[in-house]
Amino acid sequence: MMELVCPAGTPASLRAAVDAGAHSVYCGFADDTNARNFPGLNFSRAELAAGVAYAKARGSKVLVAINTFPEAGNEALWHRAVADAETAGAHAVILADLGLIAYAAEKHPGLRRHLSVQAAAANPDIINFYAETFDVKRVVLPRVLSVQEIAAINREIDTETEVFVFGGLCVMAEGRCSLSSFITGRSPNMNGVCSPASHVTYTEEGQELAAKLGGYTIHRASKGTPAPYPTLCKGCFKVGSRTGYVFEDPASLDASELLPALAKAGVTALKIEGRQRSRAYVAQVVRNFRAAVEALEEGRPVPAGMLAQLTEGQSATAGAYNKIWR
């Protein structure tokens, strides 16, 4: 059965994920070391240790995302996070920065290493380099590859691959995107925040909900239309005489219909996005995807497309997996 890797922004969400059937749960510390460094989220050291114990007792694993890029001169924060993840009993750490991966391989050789999507490793050469040089066991593939491309990569590597199947959809080269930094000075790559809430305001202007990021209006939702996350890549702008989504429509990824194809492509694990979401979201999505992977394993039809209301823009896409522009 393909492994279901599920998000947890809080200990309550971790327990919800485990109870709903997560094979693995990924989470992070409450600081700049992980890419979901949002107010009120994430784990203390004690909470992580308790979460690992809860998961282990029920046959699940905990993966710790330390997937931002260390600030020069402040590497100790990231080094401590790796050490503390190992102490807490984490099954693996999810890393993006080359220097941090080298550090973890040298100082914590017994701690399994996964390559974060933030590393944007999208071809066999770079994946094999990580595997051969740093003994990276698994790579989370960026959301820019088609199923055929994933299959081709898997034929040339021995490393496990993990792909996103549900949730928020980054449309940029992950770990390289500077849109949030451009407007707010803070980014997912260095600070763990894309469109930090401290720079976001919502105001009702007439019949419209105006979303502002860093003082700039980036989206207006008229009455009765869905509201997106306040990210620049999903912003709606006027270009000449036209108004529209310049980069990407506000839609979320839902690859549930592609699970058979992803299994055939040699994918080891399926990742659900959403550490910033509630335990209600985690429980519902995990329960549904667990039913789907069990159905697939038993040769039954995979139920699909029933989670639209949980998606950004209340619409879903298969993203690049069904690439039609090549």
């Binding site: 009120g40 809430a197 509201a227 209600a280």
Partner: protein, 184 residues
């Protein structure tokens, strides 16, 4: 054998507060409700110390929770020590305000609905300090509170009948007054 059906968010549509209950809430005097809610909130904080820790820099903020289907707003003032909850007919001044149907606000506390999904569907709006609102939402979600059980506990020797009344109200109205069967 067919695959298990997927659950849908639509199966848990947000109920409108029944007109009779809304009318009753409108007429109810504020002082007893403020006393009860303040007492309950202090009791919750005493039992869930992690809640304030999770609020971090927002632990002294004023939060307004405004019902869109009942002319009623609650002000949770963490700047006062100990905290105070006040009830208003119009939204009060606050660092952050979250507005939605009363059932949605209660359901968020009990983990019935996802806050982001309610935001996407425009069932929930956030004004003021977005960070503070987010911190409160996440802290409450992690605390796994049960407001029905807390209120029932406040009635002391009458907690069992109170729990039954709350459970009955939940069944009749569809409003998730408890954390899914926790006090049944």
């Amino acid at each position: 054998m067919t695959a298990p059906a997927f659950l849908t968010a639509a199966e848990k549509a947000i109920p409108q507060m029944p007109p009779v209950l809304a009318f009753g809430l409108r007429l109810a005097p504020a002082a007893p409700a403020e006393h009860l809610l303040t007492h309950m909130a202090r009791s919750i904080l005493a039992k869930h110390s992690g809640l304030l820790a999770r609020l971090g820099p927002y632990r002294h903020c004023r939060f307004a929770l405004s019902a869109s289907d009942v002319p009623m707003s609650f002000c949770l003032d963490l700047g006062k020590d100990p905290l105070v909850i006040t009830v208003h007919t119009n939204p009060p001044e606050a660092d952050a305000r979250i507005t939605g149907k009363l059932a949605a606000l209660i359901g968020l506390v009990h983990g019935v609905w996802d806050g982001d999904a309610l935001f996407f569907s425009r069932d929930l709006t956030v004004e003021g300090d977005t960070s503070a609102a987010l911190a409160l939402r996440n802290a409450i979600d992690d605390a796994e509170l049960d407001l029905g059980a807390e209120i029932a506990a406040l009635t002391g020797p009458f907690s069992n009948p109170a729990a039954r009344i709350i459970s009955l109200a939940e069944s009749l109205t569809g409003v998730p007054f408890t954390r899914s069967g926790a006090i049944r």
